[in-house]
């Protein structure tokens, strides 16, 4: 989903390809976080929005959380206990596939049974939009 964006941000990409699998999710979320500060208008997406996301793999080896509140985004490098939505990937590869698979979305990953979602699916849709919106604002799509 963010592949093109990552291509455009070669610095971040270099960073990411160098990091261990269990770290790259955090990097990704930090990337989004910084975009809220850097891109004019993008912040509109989280104005008045509060939501708690947990991304993890079945073995809990990779885990990260994003908390949106009061127009701000905070990234945690662990799985929080409370969330609106929790996305569990079969393994780190499935998570990578999901995040980097071009046009695919969560339903396609569900089709392949590579991901399981607990909680409110609408938060995933919103997250999906924010990711695409970022690409859109960077002029990639």
């Amino acid at each position: 989903m963010l592949r093109k964006w990552l291509n455009a941000n070669s610095m971040l990409r270099t960073e990411l390809s160098g990091v261990a699998t269990d770290k790259f999710l955090e990097f990704l979320l930090y990337g989004m976080d910084s975009a809220f500060w850097l891109l004019k208008g993008y912040k509109q997406n989280i104005k008045n929005f509060s939501g708690r996301y947990v991304f993890t793999t079945q073995n809990n080896r990779v885990a990260a959380s994003a908390v949106f509140k009061d127009g701000d985004m905070v990234v945690h490098e662990k799985a929080l206990n409370q969330w609106d939505v929790k996305v569990t990937f079969k393994n780190a590869q499935a998570l990578r596939d999901f995040l980097f698979s071009g046009d695919q979305d969560i339903v396609d990953s569900l089709l392949k049974n590579e991901v399981e979602v607990d909680g409110n699916l609408n938060y995933i849709y919103k997250f999906g939009f924010m990711a695409r919106d970022l690409e859109h604002r960077l002029g990639i799509v």
Partner: protein
Amino acid sequence: MSQISAEVSRDLSLKSCELTEGVKKLRKAYFKAAPEICIERAKFVTKFSIENGLFERERITILDKARMYRKVLENRVSVVRHSAGYKYTRDGLKPFDIVDTSPFAGSTTSKFKGVPLYPEFFALNLWPELWTISKRNSNPYHIHSREVEVLNLDIFPHWMEKNILELTRKRASREDQKKIKLVQHLVFFLTSKPECISHTIPDFSKVLEFGLQGIIDEAEKNKDGKSSSTIEFYTAIQEVLKGIIVYSRNLAKEAERLAGLETEGNLKEQLLAIAETYRRVPEFPAQNFREGLTTIWICWTAIHLENPNIGLSLGRLDQILYALYQKDINNGNLDIQKAVDLLCHFWLKIGDHVPAIPEAAEQLFGGTGSNQAITIGGVDRNGTNAVNDLTYIMLRATELMKLRDPNLNARYYQVINSKDYLKRLCEANIVTGATPALHNDKAVIKALEAKNETPKQARDYGIIGCVEPGSNGRFYGHSAAILLNLTSALELSMFNGTHRHTGERQIGPETGDPSTFNTFGEFWNAFETQTRWLIEQSTALNNLFGKTHQCFYPTPILSAFFEGPMQNGKDLIEGGAAINASGATIIGLADVADSLSAIQRVVFREGADPREKRVAFADLIGALERNFEGDTNDKALRLRLSKSEKTPKYGNEDPMANQNVCRIVELLDEAFDMINNYRGGKYRVGYWTMTSHAGFGRLMGALPNGRKASENFSSGITPVSGVTPDLVKTLGSVAFLPPECFSNGVALNLKFNPIDGDDQKMLDNLVAYVESYFGDGGMEIQFNVISHDKFIEAVNNPEDYPDLLVRVSGYTAYFKDLTREMQKEIIDRTEYRLSTGRASY
């Protein structure tokens, strides 16, 4: 008293009636146009909900809803003439001009071909796609960037906690959460209530006869002496109907304004005629055929304001409009060509919207329209011949327009309806290649009577959505409530309650390791247990969603056009309809039946030749897990399991296979029929799969009938492709099944290769097949009459075949809109030659 005029009986095909220039142009524009997302409805509904605090409510009353819809109806844009659409180009979707001369004003959405959004249901799943949806590969929708902004910031955020799925999930117990989880695994069943109920036929006869004002007056009268909640119901009905009247008047005003601006005499006159019509109807009784159609059209748009555009169906239009038609013909205000022209315009209007399908769901429901079924022919409530002039006029309009929506369905009652009528139906199929679907009245009526409908109710059935029968204007049956993948029940019974798609976790009950079973009976018991378990899960979940609907989604508009609610002062969603039910459809019947027969024959050796080797169950499972791709033994086993000479197959008139299919359909009918729904009705079961036999097929592993992993299942009630070259055996096997078990309809798909040059022979043969299949008790049949070569050409050059119409299973679709898998499935179906009566492969 014959209802066929001398003029129509001279040539039932009505070949002299052609498309007029006006409708030809509109039709061309229609095929050129891409769908456009319309946010009008979503915007109004969200705004009203914010302003009136509906988002904070624990329950939304019918009056809240009614006031909301009235407000929308009074304020929505009045589209009298469409002037522009968006077309496909190499550089994406670009605007183009439309010359709209339709006698029907008003529209379901504000766009020429609109995608209405219902954020109360599933619209939010389009959220991630909003920036890319106009560029996606399959079926792109146009959307303005300012509309993306509005959806993202002002509409969708409000519904994150408040759509039907989320409202249900939040209120669900732990046990019920598990059932929702089952849906998310996608391989077991889907429940469609988070998306819609719709799937019904409203009653238009009353509004035609009395006008909306008549119904408003009736509601007032009915309030007398009733409890406050009942009075509130009637007030709600009045609110929405008043809203519809205002919408119609607004259209009249707008038409008048446009007429004032128009300099060309003809166009001015047309606009003034619209203004005059829309000032009268639907407020007052329809006085002529055109007013009748206008009444239905305006009410239809209003019904779609409340009910998502999936499977809402128009019913027996040739019956309810006949009196108006006849009156016009008698007093010389109408001729047959004019009637055909009006219906062609009406058909286009009916198709002015498409449902919102997110990209990933294309795999399950690719190419679907709104599946608005129209039903013609058959017998009337008293069992007498109901085929009339309009039946043939509607057939002609369908043949000329070749649209996916509306989906025309023809009823045929042997002997009572004439053979010439059946001939004409078959001829229309040859001309259009795919429509109408044919329904055997005797079998359908039997099926409905088995569900305790009175003969009069049963005889007055119309078709809903794909192929589901429901008594016209009185049956609230959500016929597509559950899509059950029966191959998962087989899977769970083969793997002791686990499923290859979901890995090691226990899903269904533990029914034992089949390698320890001594008889096929034990295996059948396991299968039955898993099947019943899936039925319990899916129906319980459907009921749970139904209760959410009752709290948050009362339906005043639909209730106003229905037999029952007006009499008993009760909303449809509360069980107000004269007949209540919920419907399930089964995916994978033939594959499951053949797999069971295979297990019975090769593992448990029932009816096997003593010289043939037994296959241990564990070895069968091993081959399945290798997808039959191990050594020669795997290959040999797959051949043995696939060949009808070796293993019993449904469709080949094999007694063991027939018995297994019968047992399955009887089990399903009995198990569903035992369960009560949330409105006091029962569950009905049918066999039509749309395109989901390809979608579900993709997710499932190899099966004991020799089907390899990810391959398509057989569609609807159709036997597996290639089990027999003899068409008569296929028809005989399907007709053999008991119609009493099919109260929610079946789809038998057959593909015919037309004969070049001998139309008469082709027609005679087709008629003979249908007559015989119906005579033996077959319930429904639908065709593709297209040559293999043409399909291949259409795959390679889709732009040359924008209107190539095909039957998937149930509905019709444009071939170019289907996924590759689904195109392949249709091409791979057994093709029968109408010259020899045999399969060609």
